[in-house]
Symmetry: C2
Subunit: 189 residues, 2 copies
DNA sequence: GTCTATAGTGCGATAGAC
DNA sequence: GTCTATCGCACTATAGAC
């Protein structure tokens, strides 16, 4: 075999290591490629830009959300559908991933450009969930409202999930946050 | 006088014109600088990067949100505070700005990198509103939840405000969307 | 794989305002 | 004289074109 398999994975691992030690800006695409034993050109064949290497493997998160939407019972309210999507998405972050997620989050936290990309990805997921809701007959602006709200809950729950000392499962945290949202909005002033 | 005043404004106007006709990627920082009668280096003294030129003048939007938060009555619920912030922010987009907002939005719509920046700005505002809520005694995760929800409502309302044929004021649209959110979440399944 | 345009930074020089 | 905006040039890294 001419190349080692799993080049994207190796690039991601190398990138994570280098970003964590040296910082994102202080690491060039060439550095990452070298560490993974390929050329800079190869790095850019796998990732459209330097930031994208941190998002490898996240494609299936969207699928998880969408599967949750489509598999919700026909009688479910928009909010119930979103809750189902949230639950489905949460199962894509089992406890084994927590350590990786923490390292990754700390890298992103220290770089605005990476935060932009992360928010954009999440925003895209929300937009697709909104589309899926519309396909289930939910009208606008309810569809976008529900999808964005779900994205917000997910984001908050995820941030809690990776906090030091936190051991609960993501799905449980998400359910808690979701309940708090309902209290917040439904509660009388 | 050696330099014309208002260099940032002129750069923004030139950029808007060029981006709208030629496209964002097809316009170099040098092109914009030339059109505004300065050098490329001067462009970068006013804006940290090429995208930032589209966000000049938006600094005060954050202030509007924050003013809304702090000026809400002491007895207001988190959601009522957010509604006040929303109303305050809406007043920063009088009808005269609609045309500019439409041009700007159409440029951003056609470029992912600009969408990232836009989302990041909005996300920053939400984060600061959350901080302001915390300073008013709202606990987490309610503060972040309320702030993010407000940001979502604003975003949806703004998108509607700039739609062709839409003539209502932003504040009215925002109030509508806000009401829909309450229905969506409080409604029984 | 190589070649190149462009983004973005660092720094010294200059020109006017005060 | 100081302060600030501009210029001009050299430079690296990204990312796309060939």
């Amino acid at each position: 075999m001419r190349w080692e398999p799993g080049t994207p994975r190796r690039l991601q691992e190398a990138a994570l290591r280098l970003f964590a030690t040296r910082g994102f800006e202080q690491t060039t695409a060439g550095d990452i490629a070298d560490a993974a034993g390929v050329t800079e050109r190869t790095f850019y064949r796998h990732f459209t830009d330097k930031r994208e290497v941190l998002f490898f493997g996240q494609e299936s998160l969207l699928d998880a959300f969408l599967t949750g939407v489509t598999s919700a019972p026909a009688a479910a309210s928009p909010l119930e559908i979103v809750a189902a999507a949230l639950h489905s998405a949460a199962s894509f972050f089992p406890d084994e991933r927590r350590s990786f997620a923490r390292t990754r989050a700390s890298i992103i936290e220290h770089n605005p450009a990476l935060q932009e990309r992360e928010q954009h990805k999440l925003s895209n997921i929300a937009a697709q969930v909104a589309t899926a809701l519309r396909e289930r007959g939910v009208a606008e602006p309810a569809a976008t409202l529900a999808a964005q709200t779900g994205s917000t809950v997910f984001h908050i729950a995820f941030a809690q999930w990776i906090k030091p000392g936190e051991h609960r499962e993501l799905a449980d945290i998400a359910a808690d946050v979701f309940a708090q949202l309902e209290t917040l909005i439904s509660a009388p002033a």
